[in-house]
Every structure is written in structure tokens, then in C-alpha cells.
Amino acid sequence: MDQNRQGARASYVVLAAFVAVWVLLPSAVRRFNREAFVEFQAPALHLLGRSRDLATFFEKKSRSAEELAAAGRDLARINAALELKLKTMEDLRRENLRLRELTRYNVPAEYLSVVARVATRDSSSWWQRIVIRKGRNDGIRPGAPVIFGDTVVGRVTAVHLTTSEVDLVTSPGFRCTAYLEGDDQNRIVLVNGVAANSLGAAKARVSVIPYDYLLPAGTPARVTTTGMGGVFPSGLTLGYLDGGAYATQVGNFKESLLVPSRDLYNLQEVSVLVPIHQTPGEALMQGDQFQ
């Protein structure tokens, strides 16, 4: 019995010493340790994602031939409409290029789009994340914006060999500048995620709203990216203002909540926009302690 107590005491002393060493260890060691445990779990996450895909496949395979024929017909119609749109867009692109050459306008950052399937979603008060099944091997880099259609989903915060973690728009670590619909002067507001303190859907906060800004009547105001800072391309939808804007304690600005325009936890697939050239934001992200 005494031996047991002595052994326990010695273990506590060793643990205390280890905690001290752990705190003093270079962050690279801790990061390596974290990376090792992530890579250990990566195959299981891939398996999980693929099993889901397989389940969806068999669910779709069980549909009747009539249903498939109807879906094919609808898709053909949509394709025809999109082809027309594509031709219009091509004309606009050419005109845009010509005007840029005329005015010697700086070309904005260009992106390479990588489509990735969502492996898992993980959310608590202090983080709202999804894990995608593409990583360093697929050219994904930290800081890259993640979108679905024209909607911002979030930003890549950590990249591993075959998986990446994406902080959603509503995650406390997310920050972005934005424009508000209905503000003719295009004044910049700040969007940042907030810790979720209710069981309801997570939201982000829109701050630094000019005091004289009036919400458009009838429809919720759309919040779009500015393109400044070099992370997100301009004009992407971040979400909509939730209800009214209220004055801050200081009273110079107003604040409001942002509701994401899509249910971020129901996405099956997202696109990662990897900048062709490294952005300043990426360099900053590489120094983040907790990724």
C-alpha cells in the first residue's frame, strides 16, 4: 500500500516536471506531436467520408428509371440555359480584359479552384469547423478561402497531408471586411465570428456599421466581401444581416448579426480557392500557434 502511494506521488512529481518541460518546449515539437495525431486519424476520416458517399450512391441507385429520366431532362434544360450564360460571360470577360489593358488596372489575385468533399463537421462554443478531404498533397495552403457557389463558407486554417481544417464564417477565429447592400458609399464593415452561446444556429457579428446606414426595406441586406486584404475575392456573399442594427455602447457605430446564406453544416462539397501566388495573409497564418 505504501509502495502504491509512493509510486503515485512519484508519478505526480514526474507529471509536474513534464508539464514544465512541455510548456518550455519549442512550439515546433508540439506542432509535430499534433500533426502526428492528425495523420493517425486521417485514414479513418477518409473512410468515413467515402462510406457516406457510398451510402448516397446506393440511395441514388435505388431511384426509379422515371425519376432519373426526369432529373436528366431537368439537367439538360439547366445546361442549355447555362451555356447561354457562359457565352455572355465570355463576352464580358473579353471586354473586361480590354478595359483593364486600356486603364493599366492591376489584376486582382488569381485563384486555382480545388473541389473537396466534406469529411466531418465539428462545432462547439469555441470553434466551428469542417474537415475536408483534400490537403497539402492537393496543393491546398493555409489561409485559402473556401466557397460554395458565390457564398463564402470559411477559410482554411490548418492543412495536413490529405485533409484540411476549415474555420467557418461563424467561427470565433474568422475575420473579414465587407460591404453592405444598400450602402451607396461602399463603406467597409467588419465581419467576425462569435462564440456560440446558444443551441441555435451559429452567427457572426457585423461591426463598424456606419451610424447613418439604413437597412433596405423589405429584404434582408446582403453582406459581400470587399476583396481587400487579398484573401477573399470581391463580391462573394458572406450572408445577410439579421433583423435590425443596434447601436454600440460608444454610439459611433452600429452592430448587427450575420446569418450565413447557406446552412454551413449541410454542405457536402466545397471549393477551395488557392491563390496562385502566396498572399501576405498566408505568411501570417503560418505563424499561428493553434492553427
Binding site: G7, R34, F37, T120
Partner: protein
Amino acid sequence: MTMGWAWLFLLLATYPWLLGADLASDALAPSSLVVFVTGACLVAPCRRLKRWQCVLFAACLGFLFEARRAVPDGALALTLVAVAIYLSSHRALLRTTPRMLQGAAAVNVGACLAWYAAAALAAPSSADGMAGHLFGQLLLAAVVGVLGFVPIALTQNAAMDRLGVPPAPETP
């Protein structure tokens, strides 16, 4: 198979339960609640494994949870190591099934509180009115700890039997 690696094989046997908890967390993601079973996974091995094995097992359990989450490195793992040392030194506390169930709930809630507090300290922004959410998270951890403990312990005991780990003594 040598007894020395029992903790590692036990970890592999426990991992499907951790993955299942991740899947459940995935389903609960819109409510911002995490299905946390890491603490409950620690209780049964602490009855039978040697202390150093319990320590390694607890550290790996903690690091597996922390790996993909914004929790300061080692916060949960080192807390679980301390719990493992305590449990493996007071095996009498885990002698009966009701005591083990109580232990599973207590350890799961304690570990959940540890990661929540650590994540709050590391969070980039502060938050108001978190008490309700924290209460919900701890309540879920307690319920999951109790409900999940029996199947997890059965799996772990079966794995330890196959690995040749001696059974827990009647009078520790």
C-alpha cells in the same frame, strides 16, 4: 504478445468509439455541442493496466481529441494523465459497476470542463452568457459518459482479455 504494448492495442480497440463520438458530434454540429466520450474511455483500463500504461493511454486519448480542435496543446492530455495516475492509484474506487459508472460520469465531465476552459482561454474573442451552453455541454458529457461507458468498457475488457492483461484484483 507482450504486455508492454497492451496500452497501444487497447487504444486501437477504443478508437472506433472515439470515431463514433466524432460522427455523433458531426450530427449535432448545428447545436454547437460535442459528444465527448474521451473521459469515459479512460476508466475501465485504469482498473487493469499498470500505471505507466494508463498514463500513455490517457495521453494518447487526450492528444487524439486535441489534434483537430482549437484546444491549447496538451491541456486535455495532461489533465487526463493526472486523472489516470489518480485512478490507477485508487483502484478501490472502481471496484463495483455502480462506482465505475459514477467514475465514468465524473471523469468525463471533469475532462470536458478541462477542454472547455482551455479552449475558452485560447479563444481569439470573448463571449457573454456562456454559462447555459457550458451547462448543456457538461450535462451531455455526463449522460454520454454513463450511457457510453458500458459498451466501451465491454470492448476494452474484451481487448484486454485477448491481450492477456491480468483481471482487476478483487481487493485492490
